[in-house]
Homo-oligomer: 217 residues x 2
């Protein structure tokens, strides 16, 4: 599928992207659909049972594909778990991206992104269990997910600072603080209980950030 540069990342994650084991990337649309089905099944399997209790046969059964199809794309249970962490990280990024783009300024963008993230986590609660379990099963993926996310936030903030929308010294500490807020608010208001509107939560945080990161002077 040919797509504009700006939307390529989105369509990659939707299709399962380039997360298959080395040399096993799908080359046809049908292959990409099968890979996507395997990843979605892996999210359900590991989200419900955890990595150790989850199995390749459980994944193929949920995906409705033969065991051979699994090995067409992945070398092992470890490999599909690693691919899944990267896929979920990409899915979060892609789900939040449109919210970021439509906002009039960076604080409004962060507000829309948080509301979008909480909404996404409500329909993908397994994302917490999977990324959190990566700390133990696949520490490198765990680290990559958070380092990449924090870096993305820091670059957004610094671009906003250059536009005069936030204080000039925004950096890594602010990025990790915002990421931490978002992760914990998602845990509390998506995974634990949906007892507040995502928009209301995001507005409270945006008020904090608008004043807390206001340009100097």
């Amino acid at each position: 599928m040919v797509s504009a540069r700006g939307t390529q990342a989105t369509s990659q994650a939707e299709q399962g992207g380039d997360v298959a084991s080395a040399g096993k990337e799908p080359r046809t649309a049908r292959g990409r659909r099968t890979l996507r089905a395997i990843l979605d099944a892996a999210a359900a399997e590991f989200g419900e049972k955890g990595f150790h209790e989850g199995s390749i046969s459980g994944i193929t059964r949920r995906a409705g594909v033969a065991l051979g199809s699994f090995y067409t794309y992945f070398d092992s249970k470890d490999a599909v778990f690693r691919a899944l962490v990267r896929d979920m990280s990409d899915q979060v990024r892609d789900h939040v991206a449109p919210a970021l783009k439509g906002a009039p300024d960076q604080i409004a963008a962060e507000q829309a992104a948080l509301a979008a993230f909480i909404g996404f986590a409500r329909t993908h609660k397994e994302i917490y269990r999977i990324i959190d379990e990566a700390e133990f099963v696949d520490p490198e993926s765990f680290r990559l997910h958070y380092a990449t996310t924090a870096d993305r936030i820091a670059r957004r903030l610094q671009a906003a600072a250059a536009r005069g929308e936030v204080r000039s010294d925004v950096g890594e500490v602010h990025a990790w603080a915002i990421m931490g807020m978002n992760v914990f608010l998602g845990l509390r208001y998506s995974v634990w209980a949906e007892d507040a509107a995502p928009e209301a939560i995001a507005e409270t945080v945006a008020t904090l950030l608008a004043k807390g990161l206001a340009p100097e002077g």
Copy 2:
């Protein structure tokens, strides 16, 4: 040990508190020292090996106590892990408490608490692995740790609001946001790399909070 009400929580955690299995609470100072040694050994064992690879014999070897001493206080590996999560939660609270008390206002208190927490996490890096693994090994303890911590922050903020130090509508969302910041800043600047001073990180966050939570009008 007789202690004033205000410091009882501290001395309980220092001694291993009432975390032994039901009916197995130590009754002597020597027993409390043994329990404390077992908990510290369990932190090292589970912090290094994780819950599944960690063993009771590894704990008793590290603690320098006989296997019988372990069973004097705990029924099982699950029981000592559960006790350890609660003990680490109490240790964080007790380590941060003096910083909170000495500050002139609530923002300064939160600043001192974050610096103290990052310092504590640098010398107790295993706390992340243990509390994070509780999500899988002992979900109830995981939930209790964060629910209790958020509730403590919310009550501090609401007391500060009553004194006019922060905006009047502070509540659970702010508490979870602050907890999330602190947890992720500890992960980044204690567990991953100690490449910034705790005081500098805490000052950046305090500036954000001072403006972000400033009283209305």
